[in-house]
């Protein structure tokens, strides 16, 4: 199975080069050449207008999935509290459901959790598939995977979404392998292809340097995990929610693992994902001592302080306060980037912010490319001045 070039037909238009997801075509002296890293995926063949690219790979048959209906969201709860990402996913699911003309369902697993059904309805679920069992009280991989497997087999959903939390990223791959479907991790955008009616799953790859759109044509449900804080909740005023209860048999033997202890570590209570204002520091802050100015600005704005990976590595902030590819994704109303150059890994975590102010001494810093308002200057001067000005302004307003 290979792809080859009929040299006489090739007009050197480079469409193939642009289309190839693997960078495996190049045009030299006006003719396309297939490189060694070609995977025979066939993307270039469809793009080639003069039909110069040919293959002996038979096109893969897409099975008939017309009986697969509905967008499902895994409603992750711990100790009877729903994770925010579950509600965010219900928001996105309503939009996808509109494009497909299908319904939204939540999948709720646990023990004595049925009083969460109302809230799931309020946030967009037409149906709630509820499985309650003593063995589902604490999250355990195999127990939860089995429950979802049985629901999927019985009700045949089209799409299944989970939050990319520590639980979601443990459960989703297990479920995908178990029910025999593909899975796309950590998506930042989901949409429906208008022609094919399939789920287009967009995610960052290579540390956020590249965005990739991925399709799941050959299996159902189309499964994806989505980063917390990326999608928006969409609360419904009144809605009737149908609860579908499913029974399950589970034994300790098949589950295997036992949760001996769950420890919530007390933190200062910083919740970046829910902060309205975030003041973030980068290398330009200079020292631990100088972080104080950021705390003071954040305090004035009733916001939180965050940092880049460097700030966390220096030990100036705990790891929970890191924003970026390897930290958290945030979407505050206002993000003030102080002394942050704006490497792609950091930008990946803060792009969802509504407004961005960037303060940096280097006018070429990439952070200015993603800022609404940029200030080229010394943050040690600008930040305290801004704090004073905001305080004065608030005083004037009588706050």
């Amino acid at each position: 199975m290979t792809v080859w070039v009929e040299v006489d037909l090739c007009n050197g238009c480079k469409r193939c080069v642009k289309t190839c997801p693997y960078g495996a075509v190049e045009v030299v002296d006006g003719k396309a050449h297939i490189l060694d890293n070609c995977t025979s995926c066939g993307a270039c063949i469809q793009a080639c207008k003069p039909h110069a690219l040919q293959t002996d790979v038979e096109p893969r048959k897409i099975p008939d999935f017309s009986d697969r209906k509905g967008i499902w969201v895994f409603a992750e709860q711990r100790d009877g509290v729903l994770t925010p990402v579950s509600l965010e996913l219900l928001g996105k699911a309503q939009e996808l459901a509109g494009d497909l003309g299908q319904g939204v369902s939540a999948v709720l697993l646990g023990y004595k959790v049925s009083d969460l059904c109302g809230k799931l309805g309020e946030y967009g679920a037409d149906n709630v598939y509820l499985v309650e069992h003593r063995a589902l009280k604490d999250y355990r991989t195999i127990a939860y995977a089995k429950a979802i497997e049985e629901l999927v087999m019985a009700f045949k959903p089209n799409i299944l979404l989970m939050g990319a939390t520590h639980i979601g990223r443990d459960l989703a791959p297990r479920v995908s392998r178990r029910v025999g479907v593909g899975l796309t991790a950590d998506c930042t955008d989901l949409s429906i292809d208008p022609e094919e009616k399939i789920l287009l799953q967009t995610r960052p790859a290579f540390g956020g340097n590249v965005m990739a759109t991925i399709a799941n044509r050959y299996s159902r449900p189309q499964m994806a995990t989505v980063r917390p804080g990326v999608m928006e909740v969409n609360r419904k005023a009144e809605k009737k929610t149908k609860i579908i209860k499913q029974r399950i048999s589970l034994t300790e033997k098949e589950i295997g693992t036992k949760v001996l202890e769950v420890v919530r570590e007390k933190k200062r209570g910083v919740k970046l994902d829910q902060a309205k204002v975030i003041v973030a520091g980068g290398r330009g802050v200079g020292s631990h001592e100088e972080m104080k100015a950021l705390f003071s600005l954040a305090g004035t704005l009733e916001g939180e302080v965050a940092g880049t990976r460097i700030i966390v590595e220096e030990g100036w902030l705990p790891v929970e306060q890191q924003v970026g590819q390897t930290g958290q994704t945030v979407r505050p109303e206002l993000y003030i980037a102080c002394g942050i150059s704006g490497a792609i890994q950091h930008r990946a975590g803060m792009l969802g912010s509504r407004y961005v102010i960037a303060i940096n001494s280097d006018e070429r810093a990439p952070i200015f490319g993603v800022a609404d308002w940029g200030v080229v200057g010394d943050l040690h001067e600008v930040v305290p001045a801004l704090t004073r000005k905001i305080k004065a302004s608030k005083k004037k307003q009588g706050k």
Binding site: G182, V210, K258, I344, A385, L386
Partner: protein, 263 residues
């Protein structure tokens, strides 16, 4: 305790850039490393071997040059290496990759534990560990950062949660995916590294037939998800640069914040 460690050779992603003309990845001249989380998995394996004995087999799927990652792992302390390398493996998604790794692990007899990093820095999916565990029908603990009370039949594993941790009693054999808090990896030992790069190094290279697979099970053909397009991230912002002395700028900023109801 016999341990299989899954490692991946990855490009150092801080260096990866897109060609602005074609939108393709520029891979030339980028250094390859063992995926950072996998190095912690290796260290955990060596640690377990030092206190409980046994053998460490390092397993990797990749192009022929990925043998360097296996040699490096053996330099750290792994006993044997297996490289899964075949043109047919190219273009694999996590489904096809977990099939390939799963079939290879089935060929390795008598193992008590499979360790791997939580996720690879080039794909960031964190899917391979759990998918391999499901393929092998074994229990899993992901985000593992501490191992205690190891017996022949079980171990207690601390698993990181967003707001704390949980202690899990896990029967063996099992699959653990490891995060960086687990340990501080050692450097490869020079003499071991030289041996591991030599001709007598215990490294096997397996292809599709060696693991008992068909080409339709592996690589792009065996994948269920496909990349439709790749593109450079785009950002839309007002991009207004404020000019003047600090006082003027700050005045203007506060004006913007008020205008947009931010204060």
């Amino acid at each position: 305790m016999n341990i299989i460690v899954l490692v991946k050779q990855v490009p150092d992603t801080t260096e990866v850039k897109l060609d602005p003309k074609t939108g393709n990845l520029i891979r030339e001249g980028i250094e390859s490393i063992i995926n950072p989380d996998d190095v912690h998995a290796l260290e955990a394996a060596i640690d377990l071997k030092e206190s409980h004995g046994g053998k460490i087999t390092v397993l990797s799927m990749g192009p022929p040059q990925a043998i360097d990652a296996i040699s490096e792992a053996m330099g750290m302390g792994a006993d044997e290496g297996i490289l899964l390398s075949d043109r047919a493996f190219a273009g694999a998604d996590t489904w096809a990759t977990s099939t390939t790794l799963g079939k290879a692990i089935e060929k390795v007899e008598n193992y008590d534990l499979v360790l791997c990093g939580r996720q690879a820095i080039d794909g960031d999916t964190a899917q391979i560990g759990p998918q391999v565990a499901e393929y092998l029908n074994l229990p899993q603990v992901s985000y593992a950062y501490d191992i205690e009370k190891v017996t022949k039949k079980s171990m207690v594993v601390k698993r990181r949660l967003e707001d704390g941790f949980e202690k899990i009693l896990c029967p063996l054999p099992a699959v653990l995916t490891v995060i960086g808090d687990m340990n501080r990896p050692r450097y490869p030992h020079v003499a071991r590294l030289i041996d591991a790069c030599g001709e007598k190094a215990k490294i096997k290279i397996w292809n599709t037939a060696d693991i008992g697979a068909q080409t339709r099970d592996v690589g792009l053909e065996g994948s269920l998800t496909h990349v439709i397009k790749t593109f450079a991230p785009k950002f839309k912002r007002q991009g207004e640069m404020l000019q003047g002395d600090t006082e003027t700028i700050v005045e203007e900023l506060v004006g913007k914040l008020k205008e947009n109801m931010l204060i």
